[in-house]
Symmetry: C2
Subunit: 219 residues, 2 copies
Amino acid sequence: MTHFESEIQSLKDRLLAMASRAESAVTNSVKALVERDDDLARSVKENDDEIDLLEKEVDEQAIRLLAKAPLATQLRLIVSATKIARDLERVGDEATTISRRSIELSQEPQLKPYVDLPRMAQMALEMLRDALDAFVTKDTQKARSVIPRDKDVDALNKQLYRELASFMIEKPTTITRCLNLMAISKALERIADHAKNVAEDVVYLYEARDIRHSEASGK
Amino acid sequence: MTHFESEIQSLKDRLLAMASRAESAVTNSVKALVERDDDLARSVKENDDEIDLLEKEVDEQAIRLLAKAPLATQLRLIVSATKIARDLERVGDEATTISRRSIELSQEPQLKPYVDLPRMAQMALEMLRDALDAFVTKDTQKARSVIPRDKDVDALNKQLYRELASFMIEKPTTITRCLNLMAISKALERIADHAKNVAEDVVYLYEARDIRHSEASGK
């Protein structure tokens, strides 16, 4: 077996190790739910850190393997392109979710003027625009600047979730509307998440190193 | 410019076309929300079909480019590995969400025996297991069989969402618990979605064709 072949084999093995941990995570999380076992639930979170680490290792190994192949830079672009495309496809899905919920919302009177949602949308869109701009201009510093901003959108989403949850308890007639607004807020939070992924792919593409789940990503 | 270089350039152009459509989708979906414009909301869904098509084209082009490179089969494995790894990482995240919500749920009396959620978990886990088994055994027929099952999990999630929404309107004291159960149901639906992605990657890996957004995927 050549070195290349054994590296490919170890890539496969690592992926299977991830798979087995991901399966256990799902099994245990549902077991924790059914058996109301908080300790088991907490162990899922710890296990998740291992899964994150394995993903990083898979990607690093993929980078090493590609670096040895002819046309390494172009290959990296191809890999990044398929990953970025998947994220953009998801952004489109989330926009479709927002639209579907908006149509439901327009069948009832508006709860209150929308302030937080357009602000979240603005932040998520700027992240997306900067990540794509960084892709075009090969500006990895700009790409890096996108990553920590995901936390701000997350925080806004959590805050809005809490506000809407309290609001529906106080006024149960608003439940349907609050659920729609929660779904929209969550969709915006996911769009920011995808923008962060694109930014990480841009750094990977031009610097050939993986910054996920590291200090730089603020995780 | 060589043919390879011009193909790479056209891959980039296609990605930027996707990016611009994804941005418009988000902008228009939020505009539709704020201005209560149902027609604009519906146009986002139509635009989304174009984004899906572009993603398919990006991936097909990536396959064509990789096919021309030396070590084409190994390269395809590397690309698939990084995509599968990302999906598995997300499965871990969803399991963590389920665990977090379970801990919140165990602070209040249980609403009713859980029947649908363990069933959804079972279905999602079987999809994941089959997709990974297909990866190991190179069984693309098995991988293909995973794809339509995503619709069943989607249907269960939608049904449970409606039941829980009605339930919280009838009994507002259950709102917090219903919201946690909705989040768990959604997480399971996403796990099935990731299993479907892995299955699609396995077909791509061994058959070198893209089946997403085609008739076979039931979309």
